[in-house]
């Protein structure tokens, strides 16, 4: 049996990689994918803890997180399309005003 701390360590590594990606990427779609990476790292933690406590609740949380991630992806990509139509760019440094 693999120790649970290994799973948590992998989750921490993936989350940190996601944070670094948000810092170094400037393409808004890539930023979005780094956010998805962080969400998945947290999902791995939740499922590892669900196994630790032998309780299915953690897996239900993961299910809700997946639903929220799907909604977030749909709305976020719609915003990206609207942004690209008005600015002709995907660089986040160019989009520094709240209005379109």
């Amino acid at each position: 049996m693999v120790p649970l701390s290994w799973y948590l360590a992998l989750s921490a590594v993936l989350f940190t990689i996601g944070v670094v990606g948000v810092l170094i990427q400037r393409n808004v779609i890539s930023l979005f994918m780094c956010v998805e990476l962080m969400l998945n790292a947290v999902n791995l933690s939740l499922i590892a803890f669900s196994r630790l406590h032998n309780d299915v609740t953690g897996q239900l949380f993961v299910f809700i997180v997946m639903a929220v991630a799907a909604a977030e992806a749909a709305v976020g990509l719609a915003i990206i399309i609207a942004l690209f139509r008005s600015r002709e760019t995907l660089n986040v440094d160019e989009a520094d005003l709240l209005k379109l």
Partner: protein, 200 residues
């Protein structure tokens, strides 16, 4: 070293390498492919944690639906011209490495000092159950439709709102369309006023 250790290490190495691929590529389509690899290896890791249903959902919803949406948008928008642009904030790259190490050390320190011995899986007659019963569809449904019914319904409302919102946001607004709709609305209002006057 057991087989499960080798399996975990292989999947973890694949996930980490693919995650680095996500953040280091300049072209978002390669990042998307890296993310798909991460999602698939995480699904395999979910299976080793006896979360079968979530592993299937991970493949269907994440690697299937969400990533297709991403690839669709990348193809729809012209990203070729973006690659040559110059970074305005170069210092963030140098800030990223120490932040990476600090955050990693912090979380690892916490993981090290927490007691993490898995409890034996319960079963109906008190004996130790086989390892693969925790995340079955039956168990998930039992939790979801009894104790967590309200979050489940809230999630469905959220998804409905997201559908309507994304359609509204990504819609292309043409000037002549707006004028046509405005004219129709004004005409309707005038008609109603006229009918009211006739009735009076």
């Amino acid at each position: 070293m057991e087989f499960s250790h080798i399996l975990f290490l292989g999947l973890a190495a694949l996930a980490v390498v693919a995650a680095f691929n996500v953040i280091l590529q300049r072209n978002p389509i390669y990042s998307a492919i890296g993310l798909i690899v991460v999602l698939c290896s995480l699904a395999a890791l979910f299976l080793t944690l006896s979360a079968q249903f979530i592993a299937a959902m991970q493949i269907i919803v994440y690697a299937g639906a969400i990533m297709v949406l991403f690839v669709f948008v990348i193809m729809l928008l012209n990203v070729r011209a973006e690659e040559t642009r110059i970074d305005k904030q170069k210092y963030l790259k140098w800030l990223a490495a120490p932040l990476f190490l600090a955050l990693l050390a912090e979380v690892m320190a916490v993981v090290r000092y927490v007691d993490l011995t898995p409890q034996p899986l319960p079963s109906a007659n008190g004996a130790a159950a086989p390892q693969d019963v925790l995340g079955t569809v039956e168990n998930i449904a039992n939790g979801m439709f009894t104790n967590y019914l309200i979050p489940f319904e809230a999630a469905s409302v959220l998804i409905l709102m997201a559908i309507v919102g994304s359609m509204l946001l990504a819609r292309r607004e043409r000037k002549e369309d707006v004028e046509r709709i405005e004219k129709a609305l004004v005409a309707q209002l005038e008609e109603e006023k006229f009918e009211e006057e006739v009735a009076a």
